[in-house]
């Protein structure tokens, strides 16, 4: 059974600071997805990465996929209160359709 560990579990920082959160898998990802979930809502897909070493940018968010496709990081530059939420990584298990989610990082940005 694939285990996806995310760190840190909780992170609280001031607005304007930079931060990085991590996702590590016990096995190679089929493809890696990052989601953000706000209170009372379902997760919303931020990005999908497939190729080892791939880097994707989404405005102030930078996603990096490890060369061995077993780990990933999400870096946020100049964090804003709107970035607050639960960040989840997931293996999309292409061909299997089920998402396997990580343990999550709960991020709070203090104005």
């Amino acid at each position: 059974t694939q285990l996806l560990e995310q760190s840190p579990q909780f992170l609280s920082i001031q607005e304007g600071e930079n931060l990085t959160v991590y996702c590590n898998s016990s096995s190679v990802f089929s493809s890696l997805q990052w989601y953000r979930q706000e209170p009372g809502e379902g997760p919303v897909l931020l990005v999908t990465v497939v190729t080892g070493g791939e880097v994707k940018k989404l405005k102030r968010l930078t996603f990096q996929f490890g060369d061995a496709r077993k780990d990933s990081s999400l870096h946020i530059t100049a964090a804003q209160p709107g970035d607050t939420g639960l960040y989840l990584c997931a293996d999309a298990n292409f061909g299997n359709e089920k998402l396997t989610f990580g343990t999550g990082t709960r991020l709070t940005i203090i104005p």
Partner: protein, 116 residues
């Protein structure tokens, strides 16, 4: 357009009672998924429907859990004889499933189930 909707948004029930949770997927999406999110277990897969194929029930935690999808659209997740450990947020997602591939899963807001 309209997203995935779920009802009720909150459900409080007594231990031993049966509950039904409803999911309305995005129109035209052929795949429908149920997940459960709890403090202890995180977000975990329960069951998956794709078109007219037999559902993948491999994530259902016990035979007290069942789900059906009528007419390839609306789905109902039923939990019989609820237990306190069933307390969680139940999330539904749907996706368009093109031939030979999959698409983004879009999640509903969830149903928060509390078993007293």
């Amino acid at each position: 357009g309209a997203g995935v909707s779920q009802s009720p948004s909150n459900k409080v029930t007594e231990k031993g009672k049966d509950v039904e949770l409803r999911c309305d997927p995005i129109s035209g999406h052929t795949a429908l998924y149920w997940y459960r999110q709890s403090l202890g277990q995180g977000l975990e897969f329960l069951i998956y429907f794709q078109g007219n194929s037999a559902p993948d029930k491999s994530g259902l935690p016990s035979d007290r859990f069942s789900a059906e999808r009528t007419g390839g659209s609306v789905s109902t997740l039923t939990i019989q004889r609820t237990q306190q450990e069933d307390s969680a947020v139940y999330l539904c997602a749907s996706s368009f499933f093109p031939q030979g591939g999959t698409d983004t899963q879009y999640f509903g807001p969830g149903t928060r189930l509390t078993v007293l």
